[in-house]
């Protein structure tokens, strides 16, 4: 049986009705003819040898089939109660093979379908997801750039510049005032304004009821959910904090015309400004009052405790 299957897999056309020329022989001979043109003698010999080879193979397969059927008959006689098995004839073998081919064709069709372009709904969903990811990506980049700019600030002027650019260009706040804290006099004093005149501004007392005093008490950078202290002409007061120290307050007064209000991503940028602008202002303040000292190995090692 195993031998029969082997033969059939390799030469199924050997089981073709007598007299019909198997396709494989024609296919096999065709290229040989082309290659051997002009070598008639060799060609004839090769053809004769192949005819003989396949003829013997055909005879051998027919013997195997006959032997198989004889053995099956003997087995049925010896075990009459044996469950009947489908008779294996060249016809049933071919049907089986054709069935298998049909199955494989179906499987291939299904695989091709799986790799085919997604339906329109799926494409739209993926496109939306791509836009969402690009948006998140852009937001992360803006956070990175904003952080980088604050850390690169060396003077209070640098911090002001960076703060202005982030509020205007990244968030879309078109009018705002930066107040710094005068810790001795306990007032907020204006140092920069965008979208309005500086002359109109006055100092703000940090009395106990004021937003600034409450920000001092909170002692940490602003996060979403913290009070905005909004009023008719103020969107929010944003504390700028270094550690627990309140160093400045940003009063956001108006959005740019095309900006209807804060979006989700804006809150994390505001949080970043609250923390990093505060640190940058304090660093710039310390740097402004520091004495220039050359870097020295001994001093550095002393600082490191080594």
């Amino acid at each position: 049986m195993a031998a029969l299957q082997f033969v059939m897999r390799n030469h199924p056309q050997e089981l073709a009705p007598a007299g019909a020329r198997p396709a494989l022989r024609r296919d096999t001979f065709a290229p040989m003819r082309a290659q051997d043109a002009g070598q008639g003698d060799l060609h004839d010999k090769t053809r004769a040898a192949l005819h003989e080879f396949f003829g013997r193979g055909e005879a051998f397969v027919r013997q195997l089939i006959a032997e198989n059927e004889r053995l099956r008959g003997e087995l049925n006689e010896a075990q009459p109660d044996r469950p009947a098995r489908p008779e294996l004839t060249p016809g049933t073998v071919m049907e089986g093979l054709i069935g298998r081919i049909v199955e494989l064709e179906k499987a291939r069709g299904a695989a091709a379908e799986a790799g085919a372009p997604a339906p329109a709904g799926e494409v739209a969903r993926l496109r939306d997801r791509l836009v969402q990811l690009e948006d998140e990506n852009y937001h992360l980049a803006s956070m990175y750039v904003a952080g980088l700019q604050f850390h690169a600030s060396r003077t209070i002027g640098d911090v002001l510049q960076t703060t202005t650019e982030i509020l205007l260009n990244f968030i879309g706040v078109g009018a705002f005032t930066l107040y710094l804290v005068d810790e001795e006099r306990r007032v907020l004093f204006p140092i920069a304004r965008e979208g309005g005149e500086m002359d109109e501004l006055v100092e703000i007392e940090m009395d106990e009821a004021s937003p600034a005093a409450q920000m001092v008490q909170r002692g940490r950078p602003w996060t979403r959910g913290d009070p905005a202290y909004a009023s008719d002409d103020v969107i929010m007061y944003l504390p700028l904090v270094s550690g627990r120290r309140l160093v400045a307050v940003l009063r956001l007064e108006a959005f740019l015309a095309q900006k209807p209000g804060f979006e989700d991503n804006d809150y994390s940028l505001l949080s970043m400004i609250s923390e990093h602008a505060g640190i940058a202002i304090e660093s710039a303040w310390i740097r402004a009052h520091a004495k220039a000292v050359a870097l020295q190995r001994q001093a550095v090692e002393h600082l490191l405790g080594s």
Binding site: V131, E134, D135, N137, Y138, A141, S142, V145, A146, L148, Q149, T162, E165, I166, L168, N169, F170, I171, G172, G174, L256, A257, Q258, K259
Partner: protein
């Protein structure tokens, strides 16, 4: 995509004096894989860069020190090499007059601050006739 853009990368010049703004525009443009982006700090720096490389698109802010965006557009349109190169200007919403002047001088399109990366990418792709990914 045109035959030309399949065989070479396109060069874009971003002219913006604000470092964070410039970085964000460059970041947005970096999402277009066919583009190579060069940055310039202002109009004068832009002219320096333009003399060494042929750019396929220029994106410039209007308000810049020394040589502003309007003067840059004017200079570019007077230059045979850059007569037809697309120029996008960056403006603020309130600067309608600047926008009109830039368009009259030969700018092709404008984007307003705060910029939205998807809008910038879409506009540049449209202008350069690049297929959407």
């Amino acid at each position: 995509m045109t035959q030309d853009t399949q065989t070479r990368r396109l060069n874009a010049l971003v002219v913006e004096d604000s470092p964070p703004m410039r970085k964000m525009i460059v970041f947005a443009l970096s999402r277009i894989r066919e583009l190579s982006v060069v940055e310039a700090d202002d109009g004068v720096d832009a002219l320096r860069r333009l003399s060494g490389t042929k750019f396929d698109i220029i994106i410039t802010d209007i308000n810049m020190p020394i040589l502003d965006g309007l003067k840059l557009v004017k200079r570019l349109r007077a230059d045979e090499t850059y007569q037809d190169v697309p120029i996008i200007i960056i403006t603020t919403e309130g600067a309608a007059e600047d926008r009109q002047r830039a368009l009259a001088l030969g700018a092709n399109a404008y984007i307003t601050k705060p910029i939205q990366a998807p809008a910038v990418i879409k506009l540049v792709r449209e202008i350069l006739n690049l297929e959407e990914r």
